[in-house]
Symmetry: C2
Subunit: 145 residues, 2 copies
DNA sequence: ATATAAATGCAAATCATTTGCAATTAATAA
DNA sequence: TTATTAATTGCAAATGATTTGCATTTATAT
């Protein structure tokens, strides 16, 4: 992503443009998987960017609040994970053996939520799904079909 | 549930029959909602049953391992919650305003999982869904339609 | 009744996350 | 540019749920 776009996002959120914020957004935008606060902290250090872990947390909080990134809480992962917000509804498949996380850009619930809307007093405004199972590699390795 | 059935469950799991285990299973079987470890600890104290919180945790762990109860980890609840395992597949609807948790004994994913099975290398063996929205009371109170 | 492994209480440790506070810095106005 | 002010930061300490080490007790089988 062009740096100007990142700066625009920060500006639109009414946040100060600090090198830390630009760096974290940049890093998450380039990352291909989900990253934890400490992952991010370490990656910054690897890039010679010193930043206190508490500041990482505060930054992630602010960016999450402003929908620039998403905080993901997965079953069993004690740490929160973060991803760049590409504004594309998605879900996760998590391998029970190696913990690999794959993303599904697809959603089976649209119709179901409409049904609930019609038949229940509860108004659904969102949902979260995690699928659990075995990834390609682990199926092979563990001979699971 | 008749106490003999609880004892049978403990026995089948190869666990010792301690008053604590019987009490916790009993309590969860009667509870109508989800309970945290500290909820359970407090309820036991209210019933004049002294039990160390660490023992509550260890008991819940054992009962979960043996599928007598289920451990539920919900987005944003920092504490794990527990329910008696009625062996009935279900999901939750969580009110964004009052945090009320309602259960859905229904599942919209059977067909979808078969689709994934057919089109992906990932083998799905289970899933987890949380629906978020507003319960009847909060819809009324907050005038949300 | 005895032996043995499991269960327990208590205190201390863990670990991700949060917070208080003083110092620094970005944004804005003068 | 300089001054002003609120936001941001670093550091150390706190938090809070959960876990663990260890000595003691208890349930179960012989
Ligand atoms: Mn969806
Ligand atoms: Mn289901
Ligand atoms: Zn795997
Ligand atoms: Zn509600």
């Amino acid at each position: 992503m062009k740096k100007t776009n990142i700066l625009k996002k920060i500006e639109n959120a009414g946040l100060k443009k600090t090198k830390y914020r630009v760096n974290i957004i940049d890093l998450l935008e380039k990352a291909d998987g989900l990253l934890s606060a400490s992952d991010i902290h370490q990656l910054l250090i690897d890039n010679d960017i010193q930043m206190d872990l508490s500041t990482v947390y505060r930054t992630l909080e602010k960016l999450t609040e402003n929908n620039i990134i998403n905080r993901i809480e997965l079953e069993k992962e004690k740490q929160s994970l973060y991803e760049y917000n590409r504004e594309k509804h998605h879900h996760f498949m998590i391998c029970k053996s190696c913990n690999k996380i794959e993303t599904i850009y697809d959603c089976p619930l649209t119709k179901y939520e409409e049904d609930i809307k019609a038949h229940s007093d509860f108004l659904i405004t969102g949902h979260k799904i995690e699928f659990y199972g075995y990834c390609k590699n682990c199926r092979k390795r563990l001979k699971i079909n």
